[in-house]
């Protein structure tokens, strides 16, 4: 994948119809306008998070107003450490277990023969059409019935079963040569060993891509945690941030500091691993095609 896009890029750079200087300047102007629009909310967030609310209200942006005081106050007012811990626990376990469960099923769908395989797979695919709000209420009831309301189980378990991840991995596993399985079977390997020692190691990039996609989705999830948690101790970052708005609706300096605290780590990871993030979110998004 990386190789193909590199080839495409160089082809473009060597293109004979390279843009002239005026066209290039005009293009940069347009792209900078878009860039300013996309960046402005981040800049507003950062600036307001560093000055007192009164300074923002009077639009006093002199340098002596800037300090980290809002961050200290936000950390004292809101247990962001706890929110982070919850988000990390929920996201890490959901990502790992969801991909593991999907990978096992995808292996069977792609490379084993069993009665009912095609019918079951069609059933799986049919449920991709069902929007999340349909299963929201019954899943809340199931969680309540199981006694999992306001626990990690509620936040994690329903997210472990993803038809989409299963589908994506099945498509990939079907593309691997079946001769590998046959050769391993000749040597007496079990299906489990073939999955773990041949199929999984060969699917490193697709697993990484899918992991970023799942991570990103779970980390930012809002509606489901909102429905199945009640106590402050169980809040994930988006939820904690939203409840913070409820308490401090006009303390803009604190709200912005909280938003920066919530965003900064993910944005840093994103800037470092930009290529992987873009690939993970878009390629997985396109797998549903």
């Amino acid at each position: 994948m990386a190789a193909t896009s590199a080839v495409v890029n160089t082809a473009h750079h060597k293109a004979p119809n390279a843009l002239g200087l005026p066209a290039r300047l005009g293009l940069h102007a347009l792209l900078i306008v878009f860039g300013v629009l996309m960046l402005a909310p981040f800049v507003v967030m950062l600036v307001v998070s560093l000055i007192p609310n009164t300074a923002f209200m009077t639009r006093n942006f002199s340098l002596n107003q800037f300090s980290l005081a809002n961050y200290v106050e936000t950390f004292q007012a809101v247990p962001f450490g706890r929110y982070y811990l919850n988000s990390i626990i929920v996201t890490a376990s959901t990502t790992v277990l969801q991909i593991l469960i999907a990978s096992l099923a995808a292996y069977a769908f792609a490379r084993l023969r069993f009665w009912g395989r095609e019918g079951l797979f069609v059933l799986y695919l049919a449920t991709l059409m069902i929007p999340f709000p349909v299963t929201l209420i019954p899943n809340f009831l199931i969680i309540r019935y199981l006694g999992w309301y306001d626990t990690y189980f509620a936040l994690i378990v329903p997210g472990l079963f993803s038809v989409f991840s299963t589908f994506l991995l099945r498509q990939y596993y079907r593309g691997l040569p079946l001769d590998l399985d046959e050769a391993a079977r000749m040597d007496g390997a079990s299906s489990f060993r073939i999955w773990w020692q041949i199929v999984v190691p060969l699917s490193g990039p697709v697993l990484a891509t899918l992991a970023i996609f799942v991570f990103q989705g779970v980390w930012n999830e809002f509606l489901w945690p909102l429905v199945v948690t009640a106590s402050e101790e169980m809040r994930t970052i988006p939820l904690g941030l939203a409840s913070f708005v409820g308490q401090y609706s006009t303390a803009w300096n604190l709200l912005m500091a909280g938003s920066v605290i919530a965003l900064l780590p993910v944005l840093i990871i994103y800037v470092i691993g930009q290529k992987w993030f873009v690939k993970g979110i878009t390629l997985s998004g396109m797998g549903g095609r």
Partner: protein, 313 residues
Amino acid sequence: MTSTRTSSTSVKRNPFRWRPQQQWEAYLFILPSFAGFLIFIGLAVMMSLGISFTEWGLTGARRFVGLQNYAQLLRDPLFWQSSGNTVFYIVAVVPLQLAIGLVMALGLNQAIRGRLVYRLIYFMPVVTTIVAGAIVFRLILANNGPLNDLIKWFSSASGLAFPAPNWLGSTQFSKWSVVMLTLWKNTGFTMVVYLAALQGVPQELYDAAETDGASAWQRLRNVTMPLISPTTFFLFVLQMIGAFQLFTEPFVMTSGGPANSSLSVVQYIYLSAFRDIRMDKASAMAWFLFVFIFLFTLIQNRMQQRWVYYETE
């Protein structure tokens, strides 16, 4: 098609096919996934359908009432209002997002410096927690916020003296606030998908078109657009399904207000179920949503024959 053929011929060569043991192993592989599927999707869908045909808040006896919940929704002005708002979001967000994303992608597909930096910035909102985005937009769009600072400055500097809108607090502009937030958040995604599609268009086609004297606009209109139309279709359907299910944006930014002018359908489902404790009504509404999405997708699928170009066909 090809992959099916390869796998079936390989299976024929596989001396161990239909080995009963492999069947049992296969079921073990499927088991964890299938158990979860059965409960959290299969059972859930059945329950949802069942609840939508009963009269049931959350506790107490259930009574079968047939289609009564659906009929009541059709007479519920708030259901119509939230549906109208949701249609507004779809109609405003989807075309704008496709158009702006395409322009960004076309710009970044040129041989210019700093493409990676631009892409980094355009995609940044996509990885941002939408709640944080909604909070900043509350500030930016506030009556005395930075956007209105700009508008007031422009209005007095230009001498036109038009009033700055009350973005979040007026029924007229609250939906546009949600649209702006959604565009900011999701356009980078559209841009990246388009960019990938553009890089797949063979350079020879452009060269040939140029030799034939086609202008830049004609090349875009007659070479680029048809070749990336499958991507346009895919993005169109994906963004539409997403816009149907808008929740967090209005929930955090406007709470659906003022006077429910920005309330989305999913938000109304949430409020019916978890504020009014009417699981029956909320379930019926969720099924209406499903039917809407299903029908729209079906219509799009039918219409794609008219404008989506597939090279292989």
